[in-house]
Amino acid sequence: MTRRGVLCGLLSVACAPFFAATGQGQTVPSYQQLVYPPLKPVKIPEPVSFTLKNGMRVFLLEDHELPVINGLALVRTGNLFDPPDKRGLSTVMADVLRASGTRAKTGDQIDEELEDIAGSVESSMGETNASMSFSGLKETAGTVLRVFKEVMTDPEFRQDKIDLSISQMNSGIDRRNDDPQGIAERELSSIVYGRNTPYGWSIEHADMARIRRDDLQQFYRRYYFPKNIMLAVYGDFSTAEMRDQLEKLFDGWSPEQPPVPAFPPVTAKAAPGVYLAEKSDVTQTFFSLGELSGTLRDPDYPALEVAVNILGSGFTSRLMSQIRTKMGLAYSIGAGWGAAYDHPGTFRIVGSTKSATTTEAILAARAEVEKMRAAEVSEQELKTAKDAVLNSFVFFFDSPAKTLNRVMMYEYFGYPKDFLFEYQKKVAAVTRADVLRVFREHINPANLSIVAVGNPKDFGKPLSAAGNVEKIDLSIPPAK
């Protein structure tokens, strides 16, 4: 019974490669024959932006699909501003800002107040911005917004929550070598940016031991002031009412500080070589190859995205086809150009393979980089990569939240409003010659830093076949 099913299926197709007979006598086309109707025009919502009396920038976007209101604030700061002897300070500050509560209410009281109404207020620290977010059901959004404002404007850094946060950071430091993938990514950043720069250093117990309540308060005061904050709110509200509500809510909160300086520049020099972090309890080696990339402002950015996608994005990329599909050496392998808004990001290839094929897989990955520089990609590769970007472009606009966050991000980093559409045009114009040129100009295999995290006694071919091997010391220094 089941066997006949197979035979039927195979025979009908073998006889008629483009038209398979169907159960109802219908025929179906091949995918090459499908003709697509033009895509319906996309409605791109236009957020309303304005500045509150105290100087805070606001972006509003109505979305009435569900009875929910959400918000996201960006604060111009980041862990790049951590003092060199108190690395992690900003992260602890952002954590305690939420956990410790306000002068009027403890964090524990706020937890209960918010969770009683299924609301949330969160605070976190990134590299080039701090975030504060909220989410609430429409019926209780007023309360959530009030708590959000209180946490942002009137925090009380209580010692018990500072201790808790530092204890958690210390436990996190002790666990940082448990995830081999995490080690590979972290060590590559450290090597590419330099271990003594805010882009490449890691947080140690000694840093945590030096952080005091006073440091948190100072950091907060320096960066959390209205003119240094952008707030985006979207959801089920009326723009006029929300505008009034926000004016009233933030009325009277008007501390001033000098403008925040630029983020520290990237000062790294290329650090090519092979770096090995030994880990005995794994059967796979996790590896990462990379070097500094660029920013989204670079005129070559669209061509670089296309080029690196051909190398390593999605299931059809060269790395995937070669190292996973053809060689069967990896489950996970890929590459990204990794451009950042305001400083050079990292081009990186990331993958993992069984210990015995470590060197083979790494060499195969590097060879793919070299191939990208040796000759033009095929017309089909270029078309697939460009079509993937252009045909999925509509997904940039499939939710109001995406549009709103993008508009705010562009303003935060000083990008033109039409940046995305310019990007679209430039991708459409990329040629095979462009791909070859940008790859040759921007990616130098001689500059690649290669990090391998694994168990060298099981490596088949020694890693030295990829270059001179330098060992990475993973030991975690105690506080003193």
Binding site: G5, V13, A20, Q24, V28, K43, V282, S321, T325, L329
Partner: protein, 500 residues
């Protein structure tokens, strides 16, 4: 008291209202072959998300072939006789030859000590040449390329204990392409490059399980907690099974389990239901009706005492407690979900407040009401990542205090109310994306027979009382039905980066 009841009533009403608004957006139909479609209209943007929910998972892996459901999932991206080949008749002949040679290799290797090593080597060489020949006809990754170049987004698949899921999104003018590609791969999948992909699957296991202390611990937990039921095997399968299954095994699995009546398809977004139905008939109508496979799986016998399992690992410690609980159709399911929320939701859950915030013995801790699946009797989990300087023993003891507390003290009304409001808010947030809608409605349809259960489930939650929560804690969180799993550091660590 009245004041407290009010929001409860409101919550129930709102769920009913939400359901009502969805009645207008949802269209369902079943094809003659048994295949079920759920179409959810959401015209906010010209995009559509698709979800294929196969009611087959690793519990259906045949004995000695664990990981086979997952292996088929990988093969479902390899194309068809028209997609992924340069010359199908020649490729087919070459693949058949690979099968024949592989069978000979197996036959010789299976002689064990008596195997003729020269013969084995010779067949291996032959096999490699035949595989290379078959591969020479392959148009690599064509299926993926068609999806990606047409703007397909987030294409992937996953295999769990209970189900296998395939999903991605397209711009809405490409709907017909999805119908074509999705029906083709389940109508006549070609298992090309099988043995290379088997290596890839093996690498996936190395990555997720063998190179992760938590992966190893969870695998050991399942294998210990279950004596007989297939929930004892992880979806990735055991290493030696992966190394040995053959292409015809996967083919057989496909024939038995990938029948239309076992398949539910969700389409959410800018889609016209009448057009979807026309295309469904045209493309999926081609799948022949076949009988449903047996759903019987060995029943797990009653556990008669605590079990413990330890995994040696130089990584920082981790602890899991697992208690036997009934399947998702149990009358106690809602009460167990509420108990889980009371224990570990957000920053007000009992476990977080006690172990993370106040006693600071854990970096993270929580519970999970159902693991590894819900189709069969499963496990109620507690898990802890201890803080530096605090042991798994200490954390285990503290969990027992907490469990004792929920057994002896009734949870207060305010907490209960908070949990119910939260469950309602979670439902609303689930409805905010095409991908979420497609998977949720399919999953509720398959598991409960009706997508509306996504909404009516909330009514069950609102009915849960403090007595119910206490009762299920007393019934299920008992030592006799417990499995304790934890990692411990080997005494003489050779780990260079180890932390003392």
């Amino acid at each position: 008291m009245l004041f407290l009841l009010l929001p409860c009533l409101l919550a129930a009403q709102s769920a009913a209202e939400l359901q009502k608004s969805f009645e207008k957006k949802v269209t369902e139909f079943t094809l003659a072959n048994g295949l079920h479609f759920i179409v959810i209209e959401r015209h906010e943007a010209p995009v559509v998300s698709f979800h294929t929910y196969m009611n087959v998972g690793s519990v259906d892996d045949p004995g000695g072939e664990t990981g086979l459901a997952h292996m088929f999932e990988h093969m479902a991206f390899k194309g068809t006789p028209t997609i992924g080949t340069k010359n199908w008749p020649a490729e087919k002949a070459a693949m058949d030859e690979v099968d024949r040679v592989y069978a000979r290799l197996d036959a010789e290797s299976n002689k064990g000590l008596h195997a003729d090593s020269k013969k084995v080597a010779a067949i291996e060489t032959e096999l490699e040449a035949d595989m290379a020949k078959a591969e020479s006809y392959v148009e690599p990754n064509e299926y993926d390329r068609v999806v990606e170049s047409n703007g397909g987004l987030d294409m992937n698949a996953s295999t769990g204990e209970d189900s296998t899921n395939y999903y991605y999104s397209f711009p809405s003018n490409r709907i017909e392409l999805w119908f074509l590609l999705e029906s083709e791969r389940f109508l006549h999948p070609v298992f090309r490059e099988f043995y290379k992909e088997r290596d890839v699957v093996r690498e996936e296991r190395r990555m997720r399980v063998e190179s992760s202390s938590q992966g190893k611990l969870v695998e050991a937990l399942a294998a210990t907690a279950y004596a007989a039921h297939p929930y004892r095997n992880m979806p990735g399968g055991w290493a030696s099974d992966i190394d040995h299954f053959r292409r015809p095994d996967a083919e057989r699995f496909y024939q038995e389990y990938y029948v239309p009546a076992n398949m539910t398809l969700g389409i959410a977004g800018d889609v016209n239901p009448a057009e979807a139905r026309r295309l469904a008939e045209k493309y999926f109508g081609r799948l022949a009706a076949r009988p449903l496979p047996s759903q019987y799986r060995t029943e797990e016998p009653v556990q008669e005492g605590e079990k413990r399992v330890v995994v040696s690992s130089p990584a920082q410690p981790f602890l899991i407690l697992a208690y036997k609980r009934p399947d998702r159709h149990s009358a106690d399911d809602a009460a167990l979900a509420v108990l889980d929320s009371v224990l570990s939701d957000g920053r007000t859950g009992i476990i977080y407040k006690d172990m993370v915030r106040d006693k600071q013995m854990a970096l993270g801790a929580g519970s999970q009401p159902q693991f590894p699946g819900g189709k069969y009797p499963s496990l109620f989990l507690f898990f802890v990542a201890p803080s530096t300087g605090h042991s798994t023993e200490e954390n285990e003891k503290e969990l027992y205090h907490i469990i004792e507390q929920v057994k002896t003290t009734k949870v207060d009304e305010a907490t209960l109310q908070r949990v119910k409001t939260k469950l309602r808010a979670e439902l609303i947030r689930k409805l905010a994306s095409n991908t979420g809608l497609a998977v949720e409605l399919c999953s509720y349809y398959v598991n409960y027979g009706d997508w509306r259960r996504l909404f009516t489930e909330l009514e069950d939650y609102t009915k849960v009382t403090a007595e119910d929560v206490q009762r299920v804690a007393r019934t299920y969180l008992i030592p006799e039905h417990r499995t304790v799993a934890y990692t411990y550091a080997p005494t003489a660590s050779s780990e260079k980066g180890g932390v003392q």
